[in-house]
Symmetry: C5
Subunit: 358 residues, 5 copies
């Protein structure tokens, strides 16, 4: 729950105030400028370096890793004419995915996922799409956009390099959506393993693991659900998007629906595991109870019989336990006990309690 | 969950890239060309063989089994002018059912079901409907479309042979939808058997079987649900569909609704089984507990009494267990024990614990 | 689940094919022809007999019981110009309630309910409404339409006899809807009885009965739910319905809503019974456990004490159980045991386990 | 479930047939006629008495208690020109709340609630609103409308007396809605008490009480839910309502929403109680089990030891129980038993089973 | 449930009647008047003091703490021309959040939250927005609006001081919405702690705490949910709102959605805790049962054996317990017991009951 704690400014602060979180990393800017035939990648120290690049090239993609250097972010805001409210959303990185128009600029927030050191990372990526540029902000280095960079580098003459900022935006959105598939696959396999565990060796940890997966699923769903709406809005309401790109966005929309479908299926499976777990616990308790009952039921009558012949009545009276003096008294007592045991074993077999397996 | 693992290309690949899965079977093409009076069935090796057929006949249905031969699929794409995004969907066979227009061609994805070796098969069938042809792709040989082939062969002069590609498409969609009924019937009967099992001999396996059926139901629902929308869209938005065919599609739409109704009913029944199972387990544990309690309650006091008369107090004192020396001490002790037992049996009868049956 | 098994033709059959089920009863036709002043009831052997009747009378209601005589149904289809798809629905009697227009004819499917030999019957009634006739098909003789027949016979000069086919159709729909009320009342009373049973004498059968009622409720809801939509569509979209009749249909619509309300309430009650049942089982197990615990806790220490004085230590040593030789050793031992028992009884009273009632 | 049993006429009766229930009370009519300055209250024996009153006064409110005198209701129907379908609804007093227009007359059905002898009463009130009159029907005397009567009596010159039939209707609807608040308050307090009961002294009765409250909540919700829609429809679709009155109706609509909110909150609370109850039962069983286990675990080993030294081996052999002849054999045995007991107590303390409180 | 008890006037009271609750605090008025350059804060005793202020300054914000002084509220109503229905809502402080237009004045109800002495406070704030003033009413002193006051004081030349009443209203709404974040953070941390508690030391109190949190979550959701709609309505339907302010309101709307998202996530987590709790209880009971079963199963056979050799058969017969006289009888008996114990320990190990940890 501490997820919105670090970065959220104090309640009631003026809207559009830029406050960088103390724990945020310093900004690292990297630009890829390209046209149909050429491409150049530059590390940027000062946003002012961007101006000549933008004049020279048809398209530029500027990616900012880290949200900690306020001066750089303000300068970028000034250069590209970004709205303060949008910049505020960039710096408070727990926004719901959405798309908004601020004049000519389209502002987009998405949640991007990947695994870093076996931990699920759900990170906000903010995107500004102008006529001839795309500007993206991420909290940390490391993302799922490398395939897009690769396609840019190798794509001379392909749609990737011919398209404008709308096509690049589509490619980024698509990469973000596609990034969910390996994560879902990972959790799908985890649920597979939990399914075995819950049947063959359920422990208290199992339930915690099931719960853990359910929570992750829930977080993913909260991240993906509004992206569905966002892509639909981007594809239909935003003016600068080419018809051809809209076709690709429809494909991308299908992928989001597919992600949601898979999430839904996995959530159902995880919920089903809970039922199996509880019934499995009940079965085990039942089994334990049966062992106890069988043992008690056999040995209690036997203990009674041996106690009976341990009584100290004065055997000089012919009415007091004459069997103690019989020549075959002891074998007869043993026989009686064997008969009682056999009787109970027969009873349990009839009830189907013994040799029935688990 | 590994279902989308094999065939999905790497995240971030350029859209419209055709990647055939390594595990996919090689393509086998079979065409049925027909008009109102004649019909011919041909096995096709090379897609180029299709051109003369298409010139000669009014209608042609080309069915491709297997998605593994990239060259054939690319050639088909070129001949029929299929959009790369649509072909990509054909090769990633875990798409949601949908219908899309690409210019004059209508692209449709459905999920087809049948049993193969007692296992439920849910396979994607992709369909392109042009003016004078229908082109279908399936992953594996074996489908539920034989009745359509039969009706084509025997249907000279009937609507089946008079109709255009819209009617053939309708017939295929209808066959796909009708294919769900035997599958549902199978699961319906399975749930019937589980209902008996859960009442008369519930085991841990029962809960796993119930869960298994629920999961299958859930998969079927995920497959059928979007087909409802798809048929509605096909019937209302697609321009080349004849009014007469729309009437038939309405009928087909009714069938999908019926399938969903049956699925819903079966899901409810399967969920109800869980309740019965858990209450059945509780009842059994209750019964075991009662046996244990009855045995303990009867034999513990008896053991106490026999222990009492097994004490070694010096009976030379008149206060120390004088009953040990009485002439009828032992019969009296037995009588006391019989009385105690009778008392508890009466108590249990009053509580309704004994002879009450299950 | 076998409900759609008998009559459904094989998947992929051509649409509009008429296949009569082998188990269907032969057709019995009965016509009521009437105008404002006169009325005649005729048993029809051959559909051709209908033609003179239809020329002579203003209105005619033809009811067909049994769906097994294919020739008769085909002849009726020819006389009244019924669409093959509609006739197919008549013969596959597990359709969802719906209303459809085929040219001038309105086709309607409803599910009618009544009790036959204490079993709930949910039967399809199919209705064709033309200008001057209403044609109804039922699977079996016996229905809930007798009040309509009675009103026709006695209704000279009343709206029933003045109205056209739309009014007669309304009257039939209304009778079908009203037929649900006694059935619901029956189940309502059954749930009342189950409420007593679940509290006072719950057994494993109780849970099966609750489940049975829930399933019946679910079937009824599946039958009634689409009738709501159907009546709304009939009342608003169908052209030949008089304004006056629309007013009556609004009333009929209210009744369907009422039926759904009652069903919903009963379903909630049945679900609540499950909770009570499970808590009742838990309570009983708790009670059994308490008896076991009380008995064990009292007798185990007592058995220990009597065992103690049954040990055979050599009492010639003054340290070995000197109490065995005391004059009042036995009474003291009895006193000790009484004290222990009293201590535990006090402990249980403080815990509130004894004399607390159920 | 018997709630719609008494008064509902037989299925299939002609619509608009007036059938008074045998158990219905005879009609008692009371009219309040008023204008801005004067007001008169009259008991009416014969509806014809109403005519002069209506001619003389600007507004009249006629209230009918009891629905048993068919002749009076028919006469009222004739005088005010009420539609037979509406009158039928008046006499079948289990209608869903609704508003309907019949020509100039507006017909409204509501469900009114109050406590009579500590029992929740949910009674139908039917209302006809004409130009210059409001006519209300209730099944039984006793309602929540007295504040409206009082405001009429004392309201000379206030909107209450200046307004037309729309304002009076609003005042009645508002009084009906406000009548739900004390009822909800009552149940709210009941749930408060159940919350204490479920934690501190849960019994089988508790679960029945929780269930009882839930059912009442459900009945109230079924009564209120359609009133929301009804007031919205009355406020927006009915022509004769003054703009000023619409403003008041918006306020009234807010109150209905508030009632639904409170109901929803209470339902959630009641459902939560169930969870607490079940976990409370489990806890108690756990506690009982622990006592049993502690007692058994301590005394079983002790009983074994004392039994050991009660064996009758021939102690003349030096290998047979030499400790029986030791001088300090008995104290040593006692010491062994003390050590075993101490060991188990230590074990239970480590497990946290003893002195841990509830 | 007593929450709407104190202040609600009796059912049926005339609408628009102002009734101050007895427990309400007396009114304390504080006004902040400002323009772009200057600002003055005044404590107001008599509402008439407001008139000169309003003439002199461009904008004024009047805040009233306490709703107990009827004369003051009536005077304010007269000065600003407030509708009696709106004032009634101010005094009945359990309204659903909403926005309403009364002529030129916009009336708004919100629910404001903060912690006071570690208790969650959910208080109604009512707001009237006129052309040049904003008038707010709160029940108690203490709110979350101080940041707005601070921004007013320090904001010379900023939008805060340049904007009109719409901007001030936005700022207040935003502060109210932002006030939910710290509260949610608090509950989020509480759920974190409960997650540990439920796994490591669940008690009956745990379930009550979980339930408590769920109830608070539910109350918050009931408060926030309608604010979503309210802000949407305010942003789109209210005429006097500047386009610039609408942009800010969109941001504010995003925040409400975020609050609802967080609430939903926390509710899911709290519900998951319940599952963990119940399975944890089951596990513990299982563990207790196992200890009991192990102890019983080991010691019952041992007790039987020692009882056997405590029988008093006459050993002069060679068939009666000859082992008692054997030289190594006792060691052999001990050996037998050790063997039995070892057998059971092996059995338990194979079952996985011992040394398996929790």
């Amino acid at each position: 729950m501490s997820k919105y704690k670090l970065s959220r400014h104090a309640p009631g602060t003026a809207p559009g105030t830029l406050v960088t979180s103390e724990s945020a990393l310093p900004c690292v800017i990297r630009a890829i400028a390209y046209n149909e035939t050429d491409l150049v990648e530059v590390n940027i120290e000062d946003p002012d370096q961007l101006k000549p690049l933008m004049e020279q090239w048809k398209m530029i993609w500027i990616n900012v890793d880290g949200l900690g250097t306020k001066s750089i972010i303000e300068k970028l805001g000034a250069i590209f004419g970004l709205h303060p409210l949008a910049l505020e959303d960039v710096l408070n990185p727990y926004q719901r995915p959405k798309v908004e128009e601020y004049g000519d600029t389209v502002f987009m927030v998405m949640r991007m996922t990947h695994f870093a050191n076996k931990h699920l990372v759900l990170e906000q990526i903010s995107l500004f799409m102008g006529r001839h540029y795309v500007l993206t902000f991420q909290g940390k280095p490391g993302d799922c956009l490398d395939p897009v960079r690769e396609r840019l580098r190798k794509g001379a003459g392909r749609p990737m390099r011919q398209g404008g900022s709308d096509y690049l935006t589509y490619a980024l959105v698509d990469a973000v959506v596609d990034g969910y598939f390996p994560v879902l696959e990972h959790y799908g396999e985890w649920i597979d393993r939990l399914e075995d565990e819950v049947i063959f060796e359920p422990t208290q940890q199992t339930i915690e693991r099931i719960h853990h997966v359910k929570r992750k699923m829930s977080r993913l769903r909260h991240a993906v659900w509004p992206m569905r709406e966002m892509i639909a809005a981007f594809s239909s309401h935003i003016p600068h998007v080419e018809p051809q790109t809209r076709l690709y966005l429809r494909d991308c929309y299908d992928h989001v629906i597919q992600v949601l479908d898979l999430l839904e299926t996995d959530r159902e499976r995880a919920s089903g595991l809970l039922d199996i777990y509880l019934s499995s616990i009940s079965n085990r308790m039942n089994e334990v109870m049966k062992v106890l009952t069988i043992i008690s039921t056999i040995f209690m009558p036997l203990s009674f019989i041996v106690g009976l012949y341990g009584m100290n009545f004065d055997t000089s009276s012919p009415f007091n336990m004459p069997e103690l003096k019989w020549r075959y008294g002891y074998p007869m007592a043993l026989g009686l006990m064997a008969a009682v045991t056999a009787g109970f074993v027969w009873f349990f077999k009839r009830k189907g309690w013994v040799w029935q397996g688990k």
